[in-house]
Symmetry: D2
Subunit: 343 residues, 4 copies
């Protein structure tokens, strides 16, 4: 159940509700980000009647959560989630852009790329220090040295850092260096990692698995939210199908479909979503037009020398054009507000 | 091979080239739509050397067609194809809109829908008289009576008619009534039907099969083109995958991927592509943003009473909004021309 | 509804029932293959009450058909269908083998292959005279000449002929020459062709489309059955997925799943189902083990010279081994009858 | 490269080769399971010439490993791998059966099931103590208490224990209790977990991910093998496709396809592979017929009360029948040896 409190509910009143829930063995989470606070208590209705809670002072109303996604559900949400990453707001109607090379390869490569990313007015930098690779014989990332270079890039260019944590073992290190921690597609159902991310104080970007249904993706989100971290953003990155003109099939209709079910923001990664440089810009535009809250894009100062995923990295010139076109399309959506709200 | 002729090549000179090709047993097609005429002769290089043809008067140059899609290939094309349907140009940088109900159900239903389609400034009406249905027990369309109503709607509202031919048997009737004949997704590899469409004087809209690769789709186009009909438009309409939040997975990256390989225009059908009304408008916007040459959209005056595909038909109000947003996004693309040409 | 008649119901009594159905505008089909005759009248329950029919003389009982597959449903069936093709019984617990080259290429090729097919004790020969090909530039079959050669092979080796009809135009010719007419995977939803097959006096083999669900496949069967032809066999031939070690993914669990829903026999084509010679024999064995009523296998006297699908054609030696192993496995199933009946 | 040593090569000679490899910075693994020992040194050819190694005493021959799967490749293998799990040999031509409930739920449930598993002559028991579940609100397994019950069952019934390790954190505990550690489908690309399994002294069962190609599966195996654990068995368990009559599509042709590429044994799990009890026995038979080295099957003493995956658990009676039929089919394969060796 979702317990809506009165706007002026005192800490003591909140404490009373929590005490009752605890006495019944129910796990609960206070959400104070909205005007009036609320308490989410998944499955509480199995052990407590609503009227017993509504009788407590400071409680405005108890709402049942019928969705299987107790915490991610749009139904139970007082408002849409907006995630703040070093001043960039993801969700809430804006367009958040995150860009950078697939992996950190060297200071030269990282800085050369970060420089034009910043020049384009993009303020979040993505690059992997730890790289999950299909083959053990492929470049595995620079590891801790990569994190150090990312921190340097943040100081140098004022960019927020988005980078992947591959496992629980290295999560602490990634968490310390990153402004937002990415959970990669292969790890969407790595439940130990999801729970660790759920205990982090840093915002989390959860990529959709290459064969995950929308339902499974939201359940994965539920694992993160359930540990208390509500700063969560979903990211579509292409699914595995038989359609062979691209590396993956970018499933753009999942964006409005997800936003109909959850209060979480939804971004799109057109780089992994297509795997082909010439398809990235058109698909980035399409992602904005479909209503995504942001884009995660790979660009590299010298794609032909990239140690991973070079064929999908945008050239600097393409990147500038993409940013311009996407902002224009986003402006069109904002100026026809009914349509924008419709999805 | 593709034989490029000089701008002022005489009919006699053209005839001489054709005679040589014929004597070698090679099938050839003259294309006079461009400034300088050209002759496409798939597989001629197996029996004739280029220099023998280049020696003929009026011949400027012989270009090999290395693509397996001899007639559909962008390589061999002197220019992009633009298809004219009752004054609406599909291809060439514009945005062609085709809209209407899934099936013709009655004069009232057709006219009520056609009226607001026309009011929105859309000048091509789609509706099926013959309906291919998975179950023999589902509504199969009004047949010839449906065609008659479509002709009436054309007279009444000045709309061009796009409607499906399901089989060779009824093709003649459809061809007589329609301004553009649609080949449906299930029939993408119905080779007898493709060949019949290739012998038609009417423009053809070829939908992608639900499990067709881009390569197979272009080969299907090749069957149509090979019979002489060059007024051909491709249409993406969603593919079959395991992703279950929508009826089909709209494969938008196939649009720029197809346009990189062929000179044919590419449209998108977001209605069948999603099967859910609430996803159609966002996906229509995305289709325009990805670079589609047009949209094929289902709208119905009373979707809740539709005899087929009601859940995916737009309400009139959604439809007006969609038209407005799509035109705005298309304008953004046209005003940033480098980007527009990039896909 | 399904109207079960008494064992000794007279022609006059049957006529009376049919007259009542006709007067109510209901289409009906008499099935006299079982001990007691029955009349299938899909959707009759919408216009006629069961007791009105049960009141007629000769009527034993009226059973509702709740399945959407009114004619194909196992529920409504008095007994499993057994299809007889020139003395070979498909269905009913036996193992029917059909083998031969993908296409008829020449008398030499056809006869050389047919000879060892017959030597292996296989009495049905498959080979295409009309070949549906993805590219218009691929070998399209010998057409009528191919049919003539197949008839010759029948006379020479005493083999029944199974061959594909690609379209309504050439159906008559195929029907005259063949003992069983195949509807190919690409044509599974070519409704005009299905209806034509439904009006044929020859048994029909209906391949599953490469992206057809079991439900869609049974609806396609319904189109054939609805026109009166009850001699129908289903054939699984691999589906299109992203799994790329084989040309298609052979979906063997569909065999017991289909047999749970329909009274029709189900065969398997492991050649198209895998596309790789080295996988055909193991998958043929698996098809028998999963409970298929028969196999459709490609074998060629000289696969390396085949004009189509050479890589999946078995060598003669592999073919003999396959036949031996499959018969042994089939024997195991028959000797553990409970298990055999379980699927 | 693969360095084949002479049968009588001394420890000193082996040490010399290893020293040379180490001095060149090359990682190497000695395989002493075959008659003559060998050393696998992936990528050594980049830094060392073959003749320099062949010049060393005790070295018979240096063979290049051209496969990208340096350690899993059948090319580089001196012989097929046979994995011994508490006396049960997996690989090498036998049929290994592993059975039990999806999860350990209680002593009563585990023992009741284990009892008839043992009665059927099956000597390996599977059951999850740690259960990866799509929803955080589903039964997550008994954890350490489950492991304790499994150890008890081993003592009571003499069964070897196969159970899943979900993460690095709990791997030690699972490893201590299990005779074989399973890596589940969702974790096929959990590289930290794969590496931990590679450092285990216990045999490992690696399930194929629901959207993993054969290539990706073998690369995952490579991660395990690369850490030194060569006791590895692959297990197909169904893939995610749009085919909706079953929970997954059992991809049986991957068994012979995998065995053509790797020396590792390949098992099949028809329970997850279909998700429907009525399809499990037919598909188990098919798995044996296609050439699998063993089966992993779910059976439960009271499926209707199972806390997870009840609909796919075999009843005891079905289970006995399955074991009997599968052994009979396996006997057929062994008695026609050419065929058996062919896949």
């Amino acid at each position: 159940m979702l317990i809506l409190l009165e706007a002026g509910a005192s800490a003591e009143q909140v404490g009373q509700v929590l005490a009752l829930l605890e006495s019944a063995g129910v796990k609960a989470q206070v959400n104070e980000s909205a005007e009036a606070p609320s308490i989410a208590a998944p499955h509480a209705s199995k052990v407590l009647k609503a009227d017993r809670i509504e009788a407590l002072p400071g409680v405005r109303k108890v709402v049942p959560i019928t969705s299987p996604f107790k915490l991610a559900s749009a139904d139970g949400a007082v408002q849409k989630t907006v995630v703040d990453v070093r001043g960039v707001r993801i969700g809430g109607g804006g367009l958040a852009l995150v860009a950078g090379p697939c992996g950190v390869e060297s200071r030269e490569q990282l800085f050369a790329t970060a420089r034009y990313v910043a020049e384009a007015g993009v303020t979040l930098l993505r690059a992997g220090a730890f790289k999950p690779r299909t083959s053990p014989y492929s470049f595995q990332g620079l590891g801790l040295e990569g994190l150090r270079l990312l921190e340097e890039a943040r100081r140098e260019f004022g960019l927020g850092i988005v980078t992947e944590a591959m496992d629980v073992e290295t999560f602490d290190a990634v968490e310390r260096s990153a402004d937002m921690v990415q959970i990669g597609a292969r790890n969407m159902q790595n439940f130990a990692l999801l729970k660790r991310a759920g205990r982090s104080a840093k915002p989390v970007l959860l990529k959709r698995g290459p064969s995950a249904t929308l339902e499974e993706w939201l359940y994965a989100a539920e694992y993160v939210l359930g540990e208390g971290n509500r700063q969560l953003v979903l990211c579509e990155r292409g699914i595995r199908t038989w359609s062979d003109h691209a590396r993956n099939t970018l499933d753009l209709s999942v964006v409005p479909a997800a936003k109909a079910l959850t209060h979480l923001p939804v971004m799109v990664d057109p780089s992994h979503g297509t795997g082909r440089r010439d398809l990235v810009v058109p698909c980035a535009r399409a992602a904005v037009a479909v209503g995504a809250d942001g884009l995660l894009v790979e660009t590299h100062c010298q794609p032909e020398k990239a140690l991973s995923d070079g064929p999908q990295a945008l050239l600097a010139s393409d990147f500038f054009q993409m940013v311009e076109q996407c902002r224009e399309i986003h402006r069109v959506l904002k100026e026809t507000p009914a349509g924008f709200l419709a999805f």
